[in-house]
């Protein structure tokens, strides 16, 4: 492996890790707050990529508008998803199969969104072209396009923004309070009923923006959300479900493993290698990098 390869891997890690982090951080936020694994996040990525395609290619507006539109659209759809697939089940929250039921309902929503997109847009892949041209020659022919750099930076800013939102604002603190102790939060007057849709809308909106970026890197298509969903699942398990810093570290680690695998053994083997890694993680350290060991395990 030459020095060029290594720089190339690091550049890819930086870009992929940032975008994966954006998808995964929403999943871990939802898990931390609602104790559900939201399988509709992948379809939010897909919807984001179609919004990006619609704004950038069809309407021909600029990327900032696309990001704003994706944010609003997926925020609303995420809130809607919570209201139809999770909120009606909240009274069964303490049942032993609550996680399983919500896993299935959010998955059902994902099936509906994906296939509506298939029916409306057809199965073909669409290029989402960004208007920022050019790039930096990082080292010996390794190119870092400005648009990828912009995506990574916006992703990092959004993740940091989420951190500030959770740490400093009233609503953010309410979300953390619910994640830590639901009953105590309720006693302090936190409006839990409003907070849940808000949390899921917020997480979906981050996934939607990541979708605009991933659409730019790859394509917009009805199945564009499948792989990001699987990778986000790997990232959140690797980082420890519910731990935000763990998720960010894990996103870069997974991005690094994927980039290395692509350079060393080829693109088709990247995902199976990630699955191999996650198999090992689950066997050796099931709670992930920074998760807390759960008493509910067998």
């Amino acid at each position: 492996m030459s020095a060029t390869d290594i720089v190339g891997i690091l550049v890819t890690t930086f870009i992929l890790g940032s975008i994966y982090g954006l998808v995964a951080i929403g999943m871990t936020l939802i898990y931390g707050t609602l104790r559900i694994l939201d399988m509709s996040q992948g379809s939010m990525v897909m919807i984001g990529s179609f919004v990006g395609w619609g704004i950038l290619v069809v309407a021909g507006w600029n990327p900032v508008v696309a990001i704003l539109f994706a944010f609003v659209a997926t925020f609303l759809l995420g809130t809607f998803t919570q209201l139809v697939s999770v909120q009606p089940l909240m009274k069964r929250r303490n049942a032993i199969d609550f996680e399983m039921i919500t896993f299935i309902t959010t998955f059902a929503v994902a099936i509906v969104f994906t296939n509506l997109a298939l029916e409306i847009f057809g199965p073909q892949q669409r290029n989402v072209t960004f208007v920022i041209a050019g790039g930096i020659n990082v080292y010996n022919g390794v190119n870092l396009p400005y648009q990828s750099l912009a995506m990574a930076i916006v992703s990092i800013v959004l993740m940091a923004g989420l951190g500030v939102f959770l740490a400093r604002t009233r609503w953010g603190m309410a979300i953390r309070a619910v994640a830590q102790d639901l009953d105590a939060a309720r006693l302090m007057g936190v409006p839990v009923g409003k907070l849940y849709p808000l949390t899921m809308g917020l997480a979906s909106a981050l996934a939607g923006i990541a979708g605009v970026f991933l659409g730019g890197l790859y394509f917009a298509s009805p199945n564009a959300g499948d792989q990001p969903l699987l990778i986000a699942l790997i990232v959140v398990i690797f980082g420890g479900l519910g731990s935000l810093p763990g998720t960010v570290y894990a996103a870069y680690a997974i991005g690094f493993i994927q980039a290395t695998a692509e350079v060393l053994v080829g693109t088709t083997w990247a995902l199976p290698i990630l699955y191999g890694v996650i198999l090992l993680v689950l066997i050796v350290r099931p709670q992930g990098l920074m998760g807390k060991p759960s008493e509910a395990r067998l």
Partner: protein, 371 residues
């Protein structure tokens, strides 16, 4: 009498009803010769065997095993390799596919032992994805990679197409009947009670001396064997199998079938598979609309009809039964003792337990000597 102990809800009349129903279904290909419809039905029956096996581990044992389709495919590939590369008779190759799948399923059970819930699902799903990738990118020619397995003769290569269709129909129907009866009988046995107790109260059950590890491995072995048989029947009937038998789309359809029918119930897979096969066949030209409808259906059933259609039928039956008893007073013991599981669609033939949910473990947890 053993049938009395294993199927306490089965009266002689109910046995007769089940027998008549099975004979009627079995006689179907004698009168009906449309090859397309028969192919759809046989494919549906193969899927039903897979769903019965998956229902056992997912619904009855409560283990989130999302690797079942990989086990199923491995059973199919295993049987195919046995058919092509060994002199074994085809029916032994089908059994061999089941055994291979059971062994792999047991091996898959061990790493899940420390995990629960979504963690189990992710581990098993990761396993399934790896299996699919390995087969897709297999360059050795053993599995045929993404082109699918080389053509195999199947079980009934010596028969005419019409006769072999009927033969497959009866074979797979036989497997469905036997496995449904066996798993229904398991429901009241020591094994079935222990497996459901581990699902509903793992800590308590373990404290009573029932090893959760042991019963999880047994559940994986049973369901893996049946899934492997399903895969082997699939490759025999279609004369090939390809990696597209696994993956996210077939898995979501199977989950929908199980949940709509009623997860963890005896007749849930039957009703769910039948219903969804009909919907799929009717909408075969509109895959997008078909899955949109299935997804909406799934959501509605999970939110509003806990326990699936079997649960709904059982509750209705119960209510009607209670209402009739109130009216007449006389046959009170019959209805009050009677069935939570009078699955109406399958005739009056309810076997053993049938309602989903935690109310099943009414029998005491079997006691073990502490080890």
């Amino acid at each position: 009498m053993i049938s009395r102990r294993l199927f306490p809800s089965m009266t002689r009349a109910r046995w007769a009803a089940v027998a008549v129903l099975v004979v009627l279904v079995a006689a179907f290909p004698l009168f009906y010769k449309n090859q397309y419809i028969l192919t759809v039905i046989v494919t549906g029956l193969v899927l039903l065997v897979l769903n019965i096996s998956w229902n056992f581990v997912l619904g009855v044992a409560g283990v989130w095993n999302f690797g079942q389709l990989a086990i199923y495919a491995l059973g199919g590939y295993g049987a195919g390799i046995l058919m092509l590369h060994t002199p074994l008779p085809p029916w032994l190759a089908v059994l061999g596919g089941g055994v291979i799948a059971a062994v792999i399923s047991i091996l898959l059970a061990f790493p899940t032992l420390r995990l629960y819930g979504i963690y189990t699902s992710l581990l098993t799903f990761a396993f399934a994805e790896i299996v699919q990738y390995v087969i897709l990118n297999d360059g050795s020619g053993l599995t045929g990679g993404s082109y699918g397995f080389p053509t195999v003769p199947g079980l009934y290569s010596s028969l005419s197409p019409d006769a072999s269709m009927s033969a497959y129909y009866w074979t797979i129907l036989g497997v469905v009947v036997v496995s449904t009866a066996a798993l229904a009988a398991t429901g009241r046995s020591h094994l079935g009670i222990a497996i459901r107790a581990v699902r509903d109260a793992p800590a308590y059950t373990a404290a009573r001396g029932v090893s959760p590890l042991r019963y999880r491995v047994i559940a994986f072995a049973i369901s893996g064997f049946l899934a492997g048989i399903a895969g082997a029947l699939y490759i025999s009937f279609n004369q090939s199998i390809s990696p597209s038998a696994m993956g996210l789309t077939p898995m979501s359809i199977d989950v929908t079938m199980l949940v709509i029918g009623g997860l963890g119930t005896v007749f849930g897979p039957l009703i769910g598979t039948a219903l969804l096969t009909i919907v799929q066949t009717a909408l075969v030209d509109h895959p997008g609309i078909e899955l949109t409808i299935l997804g909406t259906f799934l959501l509605i059933v999970v939110v509003f009809v806990p326990g699936g259609l079997v649960g709904l039928i059982a509750r209705t039956y119960h209510r009607v039964g209670a209402w009739a008893a109130e009216d007449e007073q006389a046959p009170a013991e019959e209805t009050a003792e009677g069935q939570p599981a009078g699955a109406g669609t399958a005739g009056a033939g309810a076997a053993g337990k049938g309602t989903a949910g935690a109310d099943e473990v009414e029998a005491p947890v079997p006691r073990r000597e502490p080890t």
